[in-house]
Amino acid sequence: MRSLVKIPAWIWALVVTALLGVTYIAFPMVEVQDSVTVIAGGLAVIAMLVGIFWHRPNRPGIWLLLCASVAAAFLGDVIWGFKEIVLNDEVPFPSVADAFYLAAYPLSAAGLWAIARSLLPRRSIGALIDIAIVTCGVAIISWEFLIEPALSSGTISASARFIAAAYPAMGLFLFAALVAIIFRKSTSPTVVILLGLGILVESVSDSVFAFAVSESTYATGTITDVGWLTMFGLWGSAALHPTMRHVEISKLADRPTHNMMLLPRLVLMLTACLVAPTAMVFQDWLGIEVKAWEAIIESVILWVLVFGRIGVLAQALQRSERKIASKHENLSESYRERNKLLREMVQTIERERLHIASELHDGPVQRLTGLGYLIGRLEMNAAKFQDPADRNLVSQVSDDLCIEIHRLRKLMQELRPPALSESGLASALGNLRHSFEHENAIPCSLTVRLHERLDSSAEAIMYRVVQEALVNIGKHAHANNVKIALTQFGREVCLEVSDDGVGFEPLQQSVFIHCGHFGLAIMRERVEALGGDWSVTSAPGKGTTLIAMVPVLTHNTSTVLEFTGVQS
């Protein structure tokens, strides 16, 4: 019992509709069938009113219009049933009931177009043309095979022909609204499916009805009536679905696709161009008279719509290209700005390093060195100390002081190598190579071919790149040989650092960053700050090669510098 209660109300509505349909087919008596149709219509109206009250939709007017259309059809069935069952009279065609049936169409159309209007993007001529193409295609088929035959039927009266043709014609308005709703992808897909299926079965039933009436073969109790009954149930179910409250909101609000050259759109346009000729072929096959001028007019209408759509798409493409060009320019500008900031940041960092190195030199190092001289004087007189422990203490203090002074000097060198400022990059790299070999016992060759000294920030950045690269090689590469080459090619300088170590997967670079190892990324940023290009080539077991190509900004010297470090 509990599981029955958990079944949503909209499912129950479908179940009841199915039961009514089975009853309609199982009991082929006019009284039963007319009663079932009236009950289905009445239940649909109640279900829609309950749904509106229960779910409080954003746009209750839409659902009231749809409910009014179902109510109009229901009243039509009541009149029909009253005539057939109570008055025991055959219902003529057309009758008062048809007025209510036909009145349902504009009410349905108003409700569905209100949904479509909310879903469609503003000023969307392209989307409207898409809807027009599909609707025209269906309209042509409907005209050729339903509307025109009904209008030209010789077996029924003029008013009957008009009313018979009106059903499929009015259905086209509902169809057009449904196409718009489907194209725009509502956030309530289930509700759209239920409404859409309802329109579909109603359209099929109307088409069969129009054909049957034009041939004077329609009678109550056929499968056609089950279609209308099903439509009642589907719309009642749609109103009971919880998502009915926002059926008019599109999923595509932030992703407009109405002006995108998508494959389905292209297929649609191609199919539309072939509708009229295909209809002619089928007419000929069915032995129906083919009116060439009609086919020409139909084709022209569709082709005009298709070419108009292509024009709108072309315009949209042009607008997109202009937007992309503008964004590209903005991006390039941002990139230039970023590089400028990076360069200034690097220069600031180097200035700070120099400042700190200077402060260390002028402050603690000088003072400690001064203390060293005082200790030295004490040490010179230490021979006069009677206690050897005192002499040892003085020596110990002197040695410890010396160690601290050397540590500070090493720190100063790391912050700002004197050779970089005084002698240039080649000399500083030579010292770096020497230190690396001494500390890691790995042979390291250095080749420098520069026509001129580089700009100080470029020298600092290249130095730091090599410094970082050598630190990484010392820590991780397990290399047997390292090569550093700095070569000038015209107005570009190429720095290459390669080793024959363990290498790594290039894709691992993002993993390194994720794990907090920013060395490679920082090197790339520094090189790009100079307006240069950076590349890393590596593979497991195949060593690593770092290459930086930077434009030359000169130091205003014209000395040709050649420096080749000896490989140990």
Binding site: L368, T369, G372, G376, M380, C402
Partner: protein, 132 residues
């Protein structure tokens, strides 16, 4: 110890306090007879021309003429003078230049003064040995 065993030194550095401190400390050693000073490479060469010292303790980074260039010039003109380079930094380029000139000893600033004395006495001894 005779006068002949005692050394005359020339301390070359552009920082007066370093010259003063080193001179004061070295003067306490019994083997040091006289200490003169110069504030840059040009003064150093002039001082050597006037009073040929036994050992020069030479700084590197000085105005007007740096220590390496002065040492090279002194080595060429006064080969009998021993040279000890006294520098705050030790780098490969500097060591190559020092080897090139044939400087006897290299002493890092901030090291214990006993080491400076050992370098000064050692440089003189080695140089005398080489001179034959």
């Amino acid at each position: 110890m005779t006068l002949a065993d005692q050394l005359e030194l020339l301390i070359v550095d552009d920082v007066p306090s370093i010259v003063e401190n080193i001179s004061m400390l070295l003067s306490l050693h019994p083997q040091i007879r006289a200490i003169r000073s110069a504030s840059d490479g040009i003064h150093a060469i002039e001082a050597v021309e006037r009073n040929q010292p036994d050992v020069i303790v030479m700084d590197i980074r000085m105005p007007r003429l740096d220590g390496i260039t002065a040492a090279r010039e002194i080595r060429k003109r006064f080969p009998e003078v021993a040279i000890v380079i006294h520098s705050a930094y030790e780098d490969a380029a500097l060591m190559d230049q020092i080897d090139d000139i044939g400087v006897e000893r290299f002493f890092l600033k901030g090291s214990p003064v006993r080491d400076l004395i050992a370098h000064v006495l050692g440089a003189h001894k080695e140089h005398m040995h080489l001179q034959g």
